[in-house]
């Protein structure tokens, strides 16, 4: 995990050093848009005199949405689950336009505030012999999954986040964050409290959930010059 993060940091530093050598600060822009992080915005600096060749962005966003309630059987017991995705973070990104057109490659690092949570409740009364136990007495499973705090990012797209010729530009981007691990927290209440011991099973099941996709669309406004 440490190796992986270190590798991404080197890649970023290399990118910045490249831009620092070749370019001078030309434009400053702000952008608003929607992406995996939700509604967000960025502050961008373009580094090119003639054509946009690279952009450094500080971007952030936040988003919360609930998935529709799901019903299924868990160990032959009918349950209902409600999941909520909180995504968000703040990061530093570097866009490079290798062909001096709108196509760009993007790399960066996000400080993650992602939190994927779910609450699972029994749908019906559960009978222990002749004694009916209500779903409240049985308890609920509350699960939270958080990817690692720092998420390296790689992507590609079109459009300049720091427009030079026009005052406004549009940008589209597709990429993926990489999580070095997922932290699972179970908070089971009531009689199913012993299930908290099964965090490691879920952690193991989602160990391959490392890549977090990202779609980004933004409108960018040049501030100056």
């Amino acid at each position: 995990m440490i190796k992986s993060v270190t590798g991404w940091i080197f890649l970023l530093l290399f990118s910045f050093s490249h831009s620092a050598e070749c370019q001078v600060h030309k434009t400053t822009s702000v952008g608003v848009g929607t992406n995996f992080l939700g509604l967000g915005g960025h502050l961008a600096w373009g580094f090119s005199n003639e054509k946009p060749s690279s952009v450094i962005r500080i971007a952030g966003g936040i988003n919360t949405f609930k998935l529709p309630e799901q019903s299924f059987n868990f160990n032959q017991v009918p349950v209902s689950a409600v999941a909520e995705i909180k995504s968000g973070g703040i990061g530093l990104f570097y866009d490079i336009h290798p062909f001096h057109n709108s196509f760009k490659l993007v790399t960066g690092m996000l400080y993650s505030m992602h939190d994927f949570s779910a609450n699972i409740n029994l749908k019906d009364t559960y009978n222990i012999g002749e004694i009916p136990m209500s779903p409240e007495e049985i308890g609920a499973i509350s699960a939270s999954i958080k990817p690692s705090k720092f998420l390296p990012y790689i992507g590609l797209g079109f459009g300049n986040c720091a427009p030079t010729k026009k005052r406004i530009s549009a940008s589209f981007e597709l990429g993926t964050f990489y999580s070095t691990g997922n932290n699972v927290k179970l908070n089971c209440s009531g009689l199913i409290e012993p299930m908290n011991e099964q965090e490691s099973i879920i952690e193991n099941n989602i160990s391959s959930y490392r890549w977090i996709p990202n779609l980004n669309f933004s409108l960018n406004f040049r501030l100056f010059p």
Binding site: F74, V77, I128, T176, M195, Q198, N205, P213
Partner: protein, 534 residues
């Protein structure tokens, strides 16, 4: 043109790679996650262990015992899997009170466990609770073929005529021996008819079993049916006497009936007579009993666990045999108790421990300074946990204003942990400083039951027992909550079986205590028809 073609192709490839990375070959996050239930759902979990009062006998068929729960709160009593299928296994029965029913001083919980089996005297185990607790009680039961010392049994058959009446006087008497100096007898006059609970006459041959417990022998005293404390006692005028303690002059159990009907009453009074130990002291004079003295006599209602005074037995002296006896007349068949009754304190007496040492278990005995109550030491000790701040509530029914002390012993080795000074039985909260260390290291068991069909897991709560290798006796290890129990009872290098009684099954496993191992996980496969697996 070249770029125009190249860029969409790159985009498509990248998109495909990203989507593959994200959704490809993923497991369901809940795969292998199992519904696991803590079964500690009741404020009261009670374990009843029956054992043969004669130490030469061993109970081997407790699974076949008939068990009935009676009393005002019987409806609230369930097995640990929430059913009413009460069944002993290896002499143990574990029961719980329905969740939501919490006993208190103002709303005590009262029920009785009635146990029957061929060749054993019907046994009623009264339970009276004023607070939530994880309790256990060891109950001696009487083998009528081979009874303990101090207990004698006579079995006979009486025949009635076609109208259900006796044609002659009938005298039934228990035998006397060198070890059993007193006898009991029932004298039924001719023309007596026998009635069942509905008042219907019983005709034909009636089986009679007369059992007498003397007040001399420790085995007899230790197996005194129902114990000496009582919580539901009324006098002859039907006024409640509250809780209290009996000092016995003798006990008679009379069982009568056919295969289908039990005799509950007689058409006319029958005489119940017992020999009286000449060393018995009348508490009012503190002198040995004399002819003309009265000994209160009581009958027992096994449905309500109520002791009711049915009169006073008159003491008489037989100069030819130089023996004392006491008798009374009754029209109800019952257990008969010739006992002095001592009312208990009106407040609860508790002992708070200022304890230094590792958390452990202990059992404690109550000892009286007054030798009148020496017999009480034969009753079964109470098993409890031991930690700093522990408050032990003494059993209800201790006689008021008597000087008592508590003796604590290690339940596994019988080593003495400490003895309190004498204090009043009505002291309230008594504080006692005690220190105890054992050489054994702490060992933790994590125990669970698994359903064979759907893999559900139940973390049991209940009493755990252990058996040393080579021994036939199961002893208490402690109370397991949520499938976990820590103990210092087991010695390194030795092999034990640990087990528990749950829903009519006894689950056990063998564990060898390795010196460098501090815990063990135990899985017991539950039967398919276990209620929680359905």
């Amino acid at each position: 043109m070249k770029y125009k073609f190249l860029i969409p192709k790159s985009l498509c490839i990248s998109l495909a790679i990203i989507l593959t990375l994200f959704v490809g070959c993923k497991k369901n996050p809940l795969d292998g996650v199992i519904l696991t239930l803590n079964t500690d759902i009741s404020p009261v979990v009670y374990s009843i262990q029956v054992f043969d009062a004669n130490p030469d006998n061993t109970i081997t068929e407790s699974e076949n015992f008939s068990v009935k729960i009676t009393g005002k709160d019987a409806a609230s009593i369930f097995t640990l899997d929430g059913t009413k299928n009460f069944k002993f296994t290896k002499g143990f029965l574990s029961i719980m009170v329905k969740p939501g029913v919490t006993p208190s001083a103002s709303k005590p919980l009262q029920f009785s466990v009635v146990v029957r089996y061929r060749n054993y005297l019907k046994t009623t185990i009264p339970v009276f609770l004023t607070k939530p607790q994880k309790g256990m009680v060891k109950v001696p039961i009487i083998n009528t073929v081979n009874p303990p010392k101090g207990v004698t049994v006579t079995n006979t058959v009486v025949s009635t005529n076609t109208s259900g009446a006796l044609d002659n006087d009938v005298k039934i008497q228990t035998p006397i021996s060198a070890e059993k100096k007193e006898t009991a007898e029932i004298n039924i006059p001719k023309n007596t008819q026998f009635f069942d609970a509905s008042g219907k006459p019983i005709t034909g041959n009636i089986n009679v079993q007369l059992v007498h417990f003397d007040n001399r022998n420790s085995q007899s005293l230790a197996s005194f049916p129902g114990g000496f404390t009582a919580n539901n006692v009324t006098d002859a005028a039907n006024s409640s006497l509250g809780n209290g303690l009996f000092q016995t002059a003798g006990f008679v159990a009379l069982e009568m009936g056919t295969d289908n009907q039990e005799v509950e009453s007689f058409s006319q009074p029958v005489q119940v007579k017992i020999g009286v130990n000449s060393e018995l002291k009348d508490p009012s004079s503190n002198q040995p009993v004399q002819a003309g003295n009265k000994i209160p006599s009581w009958s027992f209602n096994s449905e309500t666990a109520e002791w009711k005074q049915i009169g006073d037995a008159s003491v008489s002296f037989d100069a030819t045999t130089n023996t004392y006896s006491a008798d009374f007349f009754t029209s109800r068949r019952s257990w008969y108790n010739f006992d002095y009754f001592f009312r208990s304190c009106t407040i609860e007496t508790q002992v708070q421990l200022n304890y230094t040492g590792e958390e452990n278990y202990c059992k404690f005995f109550i000892e009286f300074e007054n030798s009148r109550f020496d017999y009480y030491s034969y009753t079964q000790p109470t098993f409890t946990d031991l930690y700093d701040g522990k408050i032990i509530t003494l059993p209800w029914g201790l006689p008021a204003n008597e000087s008592i002390r508590i003796r604590f012993v290690n339940p596994y080795t019988d080593e003495e942990i400490g003895v309190t000074p004498y204090f009043s039985s009505c002291y309230g909260l008594y504080t006692y400083d005690v220190n105890y260390q054992t050489n054994n290291t702490e060992f933790e068991f994590s125990i669970y039951g698994k359903c064979p069909v759907n893999d559900r897991i139940f973390r049991p709560s209940g009493w755990i027992y252990y058996q040393a290798q080579g021994s036939n006796e199961w002893n208490i290890l402690g109370f397991m909550s949520n499938g976990r129990i820590s103990t210092r009872a087991l010695e390194a290098g030795k092999t034990y079986s640990v087990g528990t009684s749950n829903a009519g099954q006894f689950y056990s496993t063998e564990v060898t205590m390795e010196a460098d191992v501090e815990s063990a996980e135990v899985e017991w496969v539950l039967p398919e028809d276990y209620s929680g697996c359905k």
